[in-house]
Structure formats: C-alpha cells, structure tokens
C-alpha cells in the first residue's frame, strides 16, 4: 500500500527529517558538553556558529511537520475509496488503527517543535545565551517523537489491506456507538454549547487580566486554560459545531470540514485554534525563566505579544465557529 504517491512523499519526507534531527541531536549533545559562554576560544565560536545551523534545521523541520500533518489527512482521505465502508479520512484511519497514533504524534511534534523555536528565539535575544542547556536538552527529547511518528506512519501504510471492512465517520462519530469518538458525538448539544462558550469566555477574561497585571499565577493559569480550550474546542467541534457546518444533525466528522465541499473552512478553524492555544500556552511556560536577569524584560515583552495574539486568534476561531450557528438557516431546535 506504500506505493501511493502521497504515502511515498510522506515517508520520504519523514526520512529526510529524521536524518536532519539525528544530526541535530548529535550536534546538540556536543554543544551541551562543551558549551562555555565565558570562553572566547575558537571552539566556542565554532559552537556558536553551529547553533545557527540547528536553528535553521529546526525551523525547516517545523515547517515540514505542519505540512505533513495536512498531507497525511489528505492522503488518508484520498485512499478512503479502497476500503469498504470508508467515506472519508476517518474510515482510512480506522482501517489500520495505528493511523490515529500517527495523528496524535504529529500533533505532539507540532507543539514541541513550536515551543523549541520560541525557546531559541528568546535565547538569541539575550547576550549570554542563558537557555542553551534547556534548549538542547529539549531538542534531544523531540527527536524520539519524530522517530516514533515516522515509525507509526510507515506501519500504518504498510499495514493497510484494502479488503478490510472499516467504518466511516458516520458510524465512528455516531451517537450510538462505543468509544471516545462516539461519546464526544453524543454529548448533549445545549450543555456542550454552554461549556464551550463559558470556557472561551474565561480564557479571554484571564488573558485580558494577564495583560494588565504582572502576577505569575495568571500566566500559569493561562497555560492551563489554553489546554482546556484545546480539549473543549475539539470536543465541541465533534459534538455540535460540525453539525452546523454540514447542516446535517448526524454528521459529526471533524475532518470533512477541510474539504472543498465545505469551502475549506476547516483550515481557518484549525489554524486559529492551534496557534491561539499555542500562544496562550507558551505565556506560562516561559514565566519561570523570568528569574534569569538577562531574560526578564525580553520575556515580559514577548508575553504581552503572545497574549494579544492568543486573544485575537481564539476570538477569530470562536467567531468562525459561531457564524453558522447564528446565521445559517439550519437549526437544532427540536432535534435535541
């Protein structure tokens, strides 16, 4: 099954990324062992120069990870016709359950790589490279996830047997089934709506408060709230938001909204959600590093920017999701 062009591209791309990440990790180890910012010897200079290489590689890796997540979903969607019972990407992923793990690892790698890039960015703004050890230790921990992602991905494509009867999103995300997806789909709409909007409201309120006050506790709260927003939003998309996009009370699939038939609305939805959550998260993650004198002001200023971005993106996300609920002719009244 690997001989599908999309599958081939993903596998080749992942192998290239693994090569680069392994190389980066080896460099990272060297840097961790020999780094001494007070030393102005040529070895230190050479290490400093290597950090540029690592930054470049990581930036490209992140770009690749993001693209490959979309390509993976698209490929899964493209091959759905091979499986009996599959109507979209969900069916393809069900045909070989490892497919879902590929998706999860890609999401994890996305967040880890993005956090690393921010660490790198902050570190480079200070004159004494205060975050070098943290950064490169983190780099070493991203590589195993990328290897895992490639492994799962290969296993997924290799393990696909076209005769398998699989279930489509209609049955996976149906209200009557077993499993998490079904549970999410069958969450009662009205309470879920309330939870969704209340969570967003609390998140935005906390964000505004963090802008005005310097209290650390608010920043940590923001990180936790971001994660909550992420989980609640995904659950809400499956539970009721998707229904409004599809205008069908039983179509809960979270993947079909990225298709042409629905004007690719999935893209702005997921892009704003992921990036909004990301910026909210890193606000608190960097708070403990303000202890470092050379970073205090830098982080403080960056946090302000991140909070503003997060507010903006989550607001746009909420507006996009609310539009069909408020303005379309479709209504769930009487159905639930």
């Amino acid at each position: 099954m690997i001989l599908h062009p999309g599958a081939l591209s993903l596998i080749i791309g992942s192998l290239i990324v693994i090569m680069m990440m392994v190389y980066s990790s080896m460099l990272g180890l060297k840097i961790l062992k020999r780094w001494d910012v007070d030393n102005s010897s040529s070895e230190q200079l050479s290490l400093e120069r290597k950090t540029y290489l690592l930054s470049t590689i990581m930036n490209y890796t992140l770009g690749f990870v993001i693209l490959s997540a979309f390509l993976f979903i698209y490929t899964a969607d493209d091959i759905h016709r091979i499986f009996i019972g599959a109507m979209c990407a969900t069916g393809s992923l069900n045909a070989n359950p490892i497919g879902w793990y590929v998706l999860y690892t890609k999401i994890i790698v996305f967040f880890l790589s993005s956090i690393w890039i921010v660490f790198n960015y902050i570190d480079q703004k200070a004159e004494d490279y205060p975050l070098v050890r943290t950064k490169y230790t983190m780099l070493l921990s991203i590589t195993p996830f990328i290897i895992l992602d490639t492994y799962f991905q290969a296993k997924y494509f290799l393990g696909i047997k076209p005769n398998i009867i699989t279930s489509c999103c209609g049955s996976l995300f149906s209200e009557g089934g077993k499993g998490i997806a079904s549970s999410l789909s069958s969450l009662p709409v009205k309470p879920m709506m309330i939870i969704f909007y209340v969570t967003i409201g609390i998140f935005l309120l906390t964000s505004f408060l963090s802008l005005r006050s310097q209290k650390s506790i608010l920043k940590y709260a923001l990180t936790i709230l971001s994660l909550v927003v992420f989980v609640v939003s995904i659950a809400s998309i499956i539970s009721f938001i998707s229904l409004y996009f599809y205008e069908i009370p039983t179509h809960h699939c979270p993947f079909d909204i990225i298709q042409k038939d629905y004007h690719f609305v999935g893209y702005p939805v997921y892009i704003t959600l992921f990036s909004g959550v990301f910026f909210g998260m890193i606000t608190g993650i960097f708070e403990p590093f303000r202890k470092i004198s050379s970073l205090n002001i830098i982080i403080e200023n960056s946090q302000k920017r991140w909070i503003v971005l997060s507010i903006l993106l989550i607001s746009i996300f909420t507006i996009i999701c609310s539009c069909p609920i408020l303005f379309s002719n479709f209504t769930l009244k009487g159905y639930y």
Binding site: V37, D38, S40, S41, S42, L45, E48, R49, Q124, E127
Partner: protein, 230 residues
Amino acid sequence: MDIVIKTEGATKVFNPNMPNEVKAITDVSIEIKKGELVVLKGPSGSGKTSLLSLIGCMSRPTEGKVIINGKDVAKLPERFLTEIRQKTFGFVFQMFNLIKGISVIENVMLPLYPTDTKLTAIKKQAEFVMEKLNILKKKNFNVQNLSAGEQQRVAIARALINEPEIILADEPTAHLDTKLSEDLIKILQRLNEDGKTIIMATHDPFVYERPFINRIIEMRDGMVKKAMVR
C-alpha cells in the same frame, strides 16, 4: 574627552595549539579618545590589521578586553558584535572590496539592507553621502567601470552610510598613486574635522608624516612599541 576605544591586554592567536599557530598580537593595551585621528604604524605582519579587526568588532580576542564606548565586547555573541559594528563603525578596506556586477549606489546602500530602514530613506542617505564625496554623478554605473580613485570614494561612501562615529581604514593608500593618496587624506582630514574618530593602519610615510595626525601607535611583531603624541 571621552575614551571611545580601550583595549586591555588584548591578544589574538590564530589556529591555537596547532602546527600553524600564529600570534598576531600580544598583550596590547591602548586608549583612543573621541575625535582623535590615530595612525597604527608598522611593517606588514606587525599586527596592525589584526588590532584593527579586534577594535572594529570583526573578530574576538583570544585573551583580554576590548571596550567600545564603555562596553566590553570581547565575549559578545556574534550577532551583538555585528549590531555594535553596524552602529559605531565604518570600515574602509585595503582592497576596496566593492561588489562587482551591481551599481555604485547599491554598493553604498548595502550595509543598511539588513535593517528596518525603508529603502527610500537609505537611498536618500546614500545620495547625500555620495554628493559630499563627489561621486553622485556616477551612481548608476557598475563599479568595474570606475577608476581606482572613484572606487576608493565609493568605498568611503559605503563606510559612511550608517553615520558611524568611528572610521577604521586599513592601508587605504596601498593601491593609490600620489595624487589619489593626497585626495584620500584630505577626505579623511575633513571627516575628522567634522568630529569623527579615525583610526588608520598604514606603513606609508606619505600618510603618517602629516601634522594633523594626533597620535602614532607604532607596532612591531604584534606588540605596541611606542605611542607618540603630536
């Protein structure tokens, strides 16, 4: 007068602990005040270029301190060095070092490309500087089509575009005839009168036997021999 440049025990060793190890300068301590015109005098191999390179934040000393406007730059990461260099120094090289294939005005504007200044503002500044050096007429010529003297003036214009307070010149008259050398020295003198600090490395007596030079620092074998004040 303020001290703009100070070195304390600056040492530069190339390829340390290797068979081709070279000690370019050893334990150099000098001070240069704002508005001075200083000459680093010495034969080739005496370390003047290396010292200029250290002062100009082009490389880091193996030992010792290099203090620019009160800040020790010896251990700064490269990008901070570049920032200081961009703001403080203008460099005139021995070999002009203009980029062939692009026009005069583009060469002059290049140092300000990686900054957030708008292109139009940079262009205006470039034209202003070129006007002062009398090469504005040739702004759209390719640099290969200019004479040595004109190329030298383009190089100086490029060194001035970021309005530096300190100008470093490395053997500026090495490839010029007497008349052009005379023109060059006049330009540097004028810049010094305008308040710029100028440090020149040279072994050309045509340059260092001039009355308006404040100080000569003599170097030999990587060390300072004499600092003569006029």
